[in-house]
Subunit: 366 residues, 2 copies
């Protein structure tokens, strides 16, 4: 079950859309052209205003509904929407859409035109934002698992090309395709983990723990708040986490289910220190804090992390998409506020399931 | 200059949308909830039909226009559109949109809900399809160059994270981020090009020629039809093509501007043979042939290529996105029709500017 929405937009000469009369003219041309594709097209409604231009509703048998706006600034938007039963061919195929775009652009004498790929609405969730809020459509074919934990909405979705993906509160976290994410986060081939003591904050998908254990560390402790995330990943993401989430304690590692800040406080009180601390938490605190307080949370994590770090230790974490310059600057500003002073280097990787390049930080005492 | 379009959809219990009366009820709930965000909301128009359900137009000051459809199959779509002047904050920010989605889902008792990231319409082209027609939004900030050659529309666009991208007839071709594309196509580290004779069909971006020349081949001949593509890439993509497009002939290579099929016929007549032939043409023939004849074109290329290949030579080419199973099957079917018989292996790579995994073919005589 799904509706299809196909969006077109055209940039027109401003002089052609400045007054109501001119917009009527453009609307007429548009309608004539649409009738080639929709022979039973009817005008159902139209509205005009000095400040907001022209708007109309056209339809064919009340089935395909087309809305059109002509803004006085020389922009025309056209939204075509219809119900597409399972297994039926779309009314506006890729090629028909393209040729409609071309003929409209020609007839409207548009300066530029664009047809967006058809949007599918009503079935599986497939649209997710990049870190800078761009739309990305994933080739998701199944919702494998869904539950709501006390902390967040947990979903495992299957992408045809990326494998199973972990989605937390409707944001992409990691997929089976993302070994590069873990390897860049840990600096594989650069850092030496042999015989080292390591603390992971978060990391509930198990991928980081799994990869670290291959490098013979002395001991890894992982502090993850959400038991249900680990259960979901243990079952559906074992190509990236192996069986590390099966057991909670071995000679080599311990997984503690709880709030990482509380446990770090305990470690500080005990004087327990690590060679490496990993910040592998979700971007936004899952405590339900308002977004504005996100940076307070991040700074709290930093402050505690550096208190459980040996003097020559390293704090390794992901930053954000490299296109999020502002957010990365704010992140670095927070690092700059820390006492004692720290310094950092960065690395980058294109993460398949994020569909973008991501920045990673390696932070040490200055 | 841009309009913002924000799309929501909700899956409802079918029993709540089956008749006109019920749909009216749902519309009322929706309107009440929208009034929290749009206090001056007005109903401008509504339409109802047995077969196609309910449709309405709501607006606030004719500025933000909201259209709503309630399909009898239990699907509600909501399209919000307004004009966003440059530099102004959107009316529906990411967080407002998310919270509107949540409150609507709650009040409508929806089985599922989805808010698509806001679509920007009217400025630079930023939406391109994946090979399986999924929508992908690129972080394009500038149209660097645009021209129309006798063969195609040529654009160079700048993406903040992928660098300059070559766009031919509104489809992504290659970007500065895509060394992996060229390396996978040529099987770097697997194939040995030293002292070999090579023919490239297409390859106008120069990246393949540039990388091949690093491997000390005896000679490379490149057959590219579009002079203007090479000029554009020489100027705007030189991080991936170096200066190979500057000169058209050296001791090591020759670039011939012309139809590759014609030149292959010439080579066949002369008895000229190659160790490697590369199919590095655009997916769809640029000759303007109907899409249906695309496979005829591809087969023609195959047939001629194998006639200029030495008995132990290899034909290397890209296939398609790995999610395009049908298209890949058709491609392999064409290979199966060739005489003498051929056999093939495949390799894969996630190509950053395609935002998907792509399949590459290595074909030899059976």
């Amino acid at each position: 079950m799904a509706a299809q929405t196909i969006l077109f937009d055209f940039t027109l000469d401003k002089d052609k859309t400045a007054d109501a009369q001119q917009r009527q003219e453009v609307a007429k041309i548009l309608r004539n052209e649409l009738e080639h594709v929709f022979p039973q097209l009817e005008l159902a409604y139209s509205m005009e205003s000095e400040e907001n231009g022209y708007f109309s509703v056209l339809h064919e048998n009340k089935d395909t509904i087309i809305t059109c706006r002509i803004f006085q600034h020389g922009l025309l938007t056209l939204n075509v929407e219809y119900y597409l039963p399972d297994g039926k061919e779309p009314i506006i195929s890729f090629d028909i859409g393209k040729s409609l775009e071309n003929s409209l652009a020609l007839k409207l004498k548009a300066l530029r035109g664009q047809k967006l790929p058809a949007l599918k609405r009503g079935d599986v969730a497939r649209y997710f934002p990049s870190s800078d809020e761009r739309i990305i459509e994933y080739d998701i074919d199944t919702l494998v698992y869904e539950t709501r934990s006390p902390f967040q909405k947990i979903q495992i979705m299957h992408s045809k090309t990326l494998g199973n993906m972990l989605i937390l509160d409707e944001l992409q976290n990691i997929a089976e395709s993302d070994l590069i994410y873990t390897e860049t986060l840990m600096g594989r081939g650069i850092e030496n983990y042999e015989g080292k003591e390591i603390c992971i904050l978060g990391g509930g998908d198990g991928a980081l723990l799994y990869e670290l254990l291959k490098e013979n560390p002395k001991h890894v402790v992982m502090l993850e708040i959400d038991e249900l995330v680990m259960q979901a990943c243990n079952k559906h993401l074992n190509s990236i986490c192996g069986d590390v989430l099966e057991k909670r304690k071995t000679d080599q590692y311990e997984i503690i289910v709880g709030d990482c800040v509380e446990y770090m406080k305990k470690f500080i009180a005990e004087g327990r220190k690590f060679d490496y601390v990993f910040g592998d938490l979700t971007d936004i605190p899952i405590s339900g804090a308002p977004i504005g307080e996100c940076w307070d949370f991040i700074r709290t994590i930093f402050e505690h992390s550096f208190k459980v770090l040996k003097p020559d230790g390293k704090y390794l974490t992901h930053g954000n998409g490299t296109s999020c310059i502002e957010s990365l600057e704010l992140f670095e500003e927070q690092l700059g506020l820390l006492k004692p002073k720290v310094k950092f280097t960065t690395t980058k990787a294109f993460v398949p399931s994020f569909m973008e390049e991501w920045l990673f930080y390696q932070v040490t005492f200055a």
